[in-house]
């Protein structure tokens, strides 16, 4: 392979593209060519390089200098200064505080930022997601090669089980065990489904993986298909993730061309095909059985379990459904071995976890850190602390279906078991950090508004109780609540959990339950004193002149 003296990455996430990243990318190519440097410098349009106010970003290695926002007009000057004259164009560099997760990691090489531990995001933002060569160059498709040469399906299953990998979609079910269920299920036709319907508000980890490193998922799916005996895989991608879909399609095309996917891969008996299915905007389709219904062309409503998808999944066949982040761990486990993986994270929850940090902190964005880190560490180190004047009141984990974690739990290790012991859950990995100006009634009301709209409507408790709970919370926020309303909320939350058909209804109960456990006094203040201690709730009905004036 050719050696380059410099490498230019242009951020290629949807927002950057909307702000002209493509034109910047092309202009850089033109300018570099004009200066005759095209053989010395590689230029890539890559995945997301970090949520930022300075898009589109241009990162130039080996100096790891970050420029942004870069316009087409800036390009000639930038190329001439940095690449031709070898001087950093300081007037175009971006304030490091505007940078989040990924750029933070990039900066880590310069020793300015704390290091993350990247497994699933190892290549995202560093390679050209539309180039299979680039993926292979960065050790891609090594897992398939190793697996087909050295491992039987049973060995792959064992390796997975030994690694201790647990599902990253929220429930934390042991992945190896799930794979074994599918492998053992009766029937010659089996399916593999990658759940990429990432719909939890505030969660965007899967998107970064799909947009930044699509081949990783294809490789992981081929490994999974080999292990469980499936020859057909579907990636159910959230409809809004147009770029991810486009890059996945491109990646499948390339992988088929190169023989990593298709019939008789590398002359073995193993065949595997992958198809992309676009979701249509329903949150419920992230629930695995609703996803399967939707994939079959039906209305996205969760099925009753048992039977489970491992025996009766897509089109009634045994089906393995895994989240994107879960799958993204697989190639590394195969390449480096279970022991290596087990050494990362905690004993019962090995590996890393991606978190999307949001809220009243100095630095938001995506990070990947070992399991077992505490909320205090995440805020202090990766989020650069709370915003000036803010104190941590609570964190809402895992999007709307997660938990409300009070500040008192900020030293609890963030892994599946420690969190379960504390009656909270990690969920999908969104961390909404809230300060003292957040009202818990308002938070619960907003979350319940989400659930009442996103409930599929199949089962009565979820369909109706989310609506009734929302009405009660709204009543309380308008100063019209009663103590009886609080009892009703408690009722609703326990019944929703006990009686709902799927995870949506069960977790819809969580915000109400959590605020009444941890912040009951604050809720009661709304009712007894008629005030919102945080000053958020209106405590009166909407005033007509404000609404219509």
């Amino acid at each position: 392979m050719q050696a380059y003296r410099s490498m230019v990455l242009v951020s290629g996430d949807p927002k950057s593209l909307a702000l002209g990243a493509q034109a910047v990318y092309e202009r850089i190519q033109d300018e570099v060519k004009a200066l005759g440097m095209q053989d010395e410098i590689s230029i890539l349009l890559t995945g997301d390089v970090g949520k930022s106010d300075a898009l589109p970003l241009v990162v130039i290695y080996p100096e790891a200098t970050i420029y942004g926002p870069v316009s087409v007009e800036d390009v000639p000057y930038l190329v001439e200064e940095h690449l031709y004259k070898g001087r950093i164009a300081h007037n175009l560099t971006v304030d490091v505080r505007l940078q989040s997760g990924k750029t933070a990691w990039l900066s880590a090489r310069k020793g300015t930022m704390p290091a993350e531990h990247r497994i699933v995001l190892e290549r995202a933002g560093l390679i050209d997601p539309e180039s299979i060569e680039d993926y292979i160059l960065h050790d891609g498709y090594m897992a398939i090669a190793k697996m087909l040469q050295e491992m039987s399906p049973e060995q792959v299953l064992q390796e997975l089980q030994d690694s201790g990998l647990r599902g990253r979609g929220g429930a934390g079910f042991p992945t190896g065990l799930k794979w074994k269920f599918v492998a053992k299920a009766n029937g010659s036709k089996k399916y593999l489904v990658c759940n990429a319907d990432e719909s939890e508000p505030g969660t965007f980890k899967d998107r970064q993986i799909l947009e930044g490193d699509p081949h990783l998922i294809l490789e992981a799916m081929a490994v999974a298909g080999y292990a469980v005996g499936a020859d057909e895989g579907y990636i159910y991608v959230r409809g809004e993730y147009a770029l991810a879909q486009q890059r996945l399609l491109r990646a499948i095309e390339q992988a088929e061309e190169m023989g990593f996917l298709g019939e008789n891969i590398f002359g073995t008996q193993f065949s595997f095909k992958i198809r992309i299915h676009s979701g249509a905007g329903a949150y419920i389709c992230g629930e695995e059985t609703a996803l399967l219904e939707s994939l079959e062309g039906k209305r996205g409503e969760p099925r009753s379990r048992p039977p489970y998808p491992t025996t009766h999944g897509l089109f009634g066949k045994p089906t393995l459904v895994n989240n994107v982040e879960t799958l993204a761990n697989v190639p590394a486990i195969i390449v480096h071995g279970a022991q290596w993986y087990h050494n990362i994270g905690t004993a019962s929850s090995p590996g890393t976890k991606c978190y999307t940090i949001l809220g009243n902190v100095n630095q938001t964005g995506l990070i990947e850190v070992p399991m077992g880190i505490t909320l205090r560490e995440v805020i202090a180190i990766y989020a650069k602390g709370m915003q000036p004047g803010s104190q941590l009141k609570l964190a809402q984990t895992g999007g709307s279906s997660g938990s409300i974690v009070p500040a008192s739990l900020q030293d609890t290790p963030m892994d599946f078991d420690s969190y379960a012991k504390a009656s909270v859950s990690l969920g999908s990995g969104a961390l909404l950090i809230c300060d003292q100006e957040t009202c818990v009634v308002d938070l619960a009301r907003v979350l319940m508004n989400f659930f009442r709209n996103e409930s599929c409507g199949k089962c009565n408790p979820c369909r109706i109780a989310t609506q009734r709970s929302y009405e009660i919370l709204e009543r309380i926020s308008m100063g019209k609540g009663t103590l009886e309303d609080i009892d009703k909320l408690e009722d609703m939350s326990s019944n929703l959990f006990e009686m709902s058909n799927c995870g949506l209804g069960q977790t819809a109960a969580t915000p109400m339950r959590d605020i009444l456990i941890h912040f009951r006094a604050e809720v009661e203040a709304h009712v007894r004193l008629g005030v919102c201690p945080s000053g958020v709730c209106p405590m009166h009905e909407p005033v007509a002149s404000l609404v219509y004036g």
Partner: protein, 652 residues
């Protein structure tokens, strides 16, 4: 078998049984709303939740398969609280003010469930927005305000009838029942089979005709069979004060398993004709009311001289909607005792004569039972217009089609099911036989025939393509479809003149052959030999046992010159206007007797309402008339008569 414990009772049930069914079999009552024995379990209403030891949360018993060692409790405090919560929520969701509802009382499952849980108030403030009522459908009223979103109707529309008209739009609290993405029901693809109304647990889907005419418990129920076609579907006729209020499908019926079509449920009661109010006799050119004695005497006087006159005597035709007993007596009287040459049915053997001849030439039955159709994985419709003539067979076809069965249509012109077909071979007039021969050839040519045959597939196929103008490719694909099925069935209708051509195709593909015949007792008429053309030519009298059949225009026209016409009918018609003697008889709901379904099943029709004062039973009229001609006539040993001829399908 699995052994589980429910409420301390140890039960043994077959594997795959749900906890709910296991409980029901043991006599343990678990309240339900979305569950229906004929529909797939849904698990939506959550009223049937039970406590299962070891389970994290309450479990829906309707979807939970029983497993060995399972310990279930159906009436703990937790379960009862959960039930109340479900009902509380439902009552808060829509307008469930019972006093104003059509089904308030025992007909409402929601109300019954609430009483069952001792609910006497609504713990939650109801909060709903009134929804418009959809009254656009001629037979069905759709009232969203009463809907509990249990999806029984949606499942019935899909699973029982394959119509897929009903569905749900929106999500969460805005979820609502819709027809075809939101069309008014009356403008939708609804087939008007009314299954949705039959399964609706509340007053959300209401039968317009019977609304507010009484709860099911106060209505009289009569399990009988539908006479609209030859399928012999089981129906439950609900009546009050000798008025039919409503017809429902009988879930226990072997032919239709509860499914009914628009003809059976609605159109059979849509009768605007006038009933005959008394016997009529023509005096001085005027048809005037008369007593039964006068009328019968007048008829006997006209007919008696014609005994033994054979070809110039009396020409007689009976409706195939009459009972087997009546048809037998009719045949006995006119052909047997009076020796008339022209004794037939109004159907004139159009749908049965060819098959009867074929059976006779084969010396054995060749048709299969309806079960073959109900379990088919490939249905070949040959000249059969199911939507009009046998809609229930059409519904069965639709629902099988939805579960993956292939549908092949072979017809002249167009067929109303062809848009659903996997393959539709439609030819111009006259070459249906060529088409079937071509298909058989295509099976043989591809080496798919299940039987050794001397047929030269290649030659026969190219001959068929020339004759029918249909490509060899179409023949070959369709042939693969049929031959590839494990239980194919060929259904032929009246458009196929000669069913003999089907035998080769059926043999080559191991397909069953089903014929749907004509009227309700079409097979009975055929077995009695009442299947010749009714061509009146020189006879001195004509006797028509019409029953409640509406005479066709051509029949009326052909009898314009009849010297002496006796009509035995329930309603006034153009024919009774022309008659010399009119004898009023029963309509179908009053009819009592035996019927042979198209697949040879002997079933009983019972009268659901009493005969009007003026009318008599067809059977009694024939006996009485015979008596006045000094002919002894009785129905004893009538069953014998139906076995004198080899039947196209086994009779039992």
């Amino acid at each position: 078998m699995v052994v589980l414990t429910i409420d301390g009772k140890q039960l043994e049930v077959p594997e795959g049984t749900t906890v709910l069914r296991a409980a029901q079999q043991a006599g343990i009552h678990v309240p339900t709303l979305c569950d229906h024995p004929e529909l797939t379990p849904y698990g939506g209403c959550r009223l049937c939740l039970v406590e299962v030891e070891g389970a994290r949360t309450l479990q829906p018993s309707c979807t939970l398969p029983a497993s060995s060692g399972m310990v279930v409790h159906t009436s703990t405090d937790k379960v009862r609280t959960a039930r109340k919560f479900v009902l509380t929520l439902l009552f808060s969701e829509r307008n469930h003010f019972c006093p104003f509802c059509e089904v308030s009382g025992e007909d409402c499952d929601l109300q019954q469930a609430a009483y069952g849980e001792d609910m006497d108030h609504w713990p939650l403030q109801p909060n709903w927005e009134p929804q418009p009522v959809d009254a656009s459908h001629p037979f069905i009223l759709m009232d969203q305000n009463r809907c509990i979103l249990c999806r029984r109707c949606v499942r019935a529309c899909a699973e029982l009838t394959g119509a897929f008209t009903l569905g749900f739009e929106e999500r969460g609290a805005r979820s609502a029942l819709v027809a075809d993405y939101g069309l008014p029901l009356g403008e939708s693809t609804c087939l008007s089979c009314g299954m949705c109304v039959q399964v609706c647990p509340t007053g959300a889907l209401v039968d317009k005709r019977s609304a507010y005419l009484g709860q099911k418990s106060v209505l009289e129920h009569n399990q009988t069979i539908c006479l609209e076609c030859s399928m012999g579907c089981g129906i439950d006729v609900l009546s009050r004060n000798d008025q039919v209020v409503r017809i429902e499908g009988n879930w226990e019926a072997p032919v239709n398993d509860g499914v009914l079509c628009v003809n059976g449920r609605y159109l059979s009661l849509d009768d605007n004709r006038d009933r005959l109010q008394s016997p009529l006799v023509r005096k001085d050119g005027q048809l005037v009311p008369a007593s039964w004695d006068e009328a019968l005497d007048a008829a006997a006087a006209g007919l008696k001289p014609l005994i033994g006159k054979n070809g110039s005597g009396v020409a007689a035709a009976a409706s195939t909607r009459l009972t087997a007993e009546s048809l037998y007596l009719f045949k006995e009287l006119f052909a047997g005792k009076m020796g008339s040459a022209l004794v037939t049915s109004t159907e004139q053997g159009a749908a049965t004569a060819a098959a009867a001849r074929l059976a006779e030439s084969l010396g054995k039955p060749f048709e299969a039972k309806f079960d073959a159709l109900k379990n088919a994985d490939c249905i070949v419709l040959v000249g059969a217009e199911l939507n009009e003539q046998n809609p229930v067979a059409g519904l069965i076809t639709r629902r099988l089609r939805a579960t993956g069965a292939k549908l092949v249509i072979i017809d002249q012109g167009d067929n109303s099911l062809s848009e659903l077909a996997d393959s539709a071979l439609l030819v111009k007039e006259g070459s249906l036989s060529d088409l079937i021969a071509g298909l058989t050839a295509a099976v043989v040519k591809q080496g798919l025939s299940r039987l050794e045959t001397a047929l030269d597939g290649r030659k026969a196929l190219s001959a068929a393509t020339v004759k029918t103008g249909i490509s060899a490719d179409a023949f070959l694909t369709t042939a693969r479809m049929i031959a590839g099925a494990s239980q194919p069935v060929i259904v032929f209708g009246q458009n196929l003149a000669e069913p003999a051509v089907l035998l080769d195709l059926a043999a080559a593909t191991s397909a069953g052959i089903v014929s749907l015949k004509g009227g309700a007792n079409s097979l009975a008429a055929s077995q009695l030999g009442l299947d010749q053309p009714f061509t009146v030519n020189g006879q001195q009298a004509v006797y028509l046992a019409l029953g409640d059949e509406d005479p066709t225009e051509s029949l009326v026209k052909s009898l314009a010159a009849a010297p002496f016409l006796v009509v035995q009918a329930s309603h006034k018609s153009a024919l009774t206007e022309k008659a010399d003697v009119v004898l009023p008889v029963e309509a179908w709901v009053e009819r009592q007797g035996s019927f042979f379904s198209a697949d040879g099943r002997l079933q009983q029709a019972v009268s659901s309402v009493s005969l009007p004062e003026a009318a008599r039973d067809s059977q009694a009229v024939l006996v009485e008339l015979a008596a006045r001609m000094d002919i002894p006539l009785d129905a004893g040993g009538w069953q014998e008569a139906f076995n004198r001829r080899i039947s196209p399908v086994t009779i039992y």
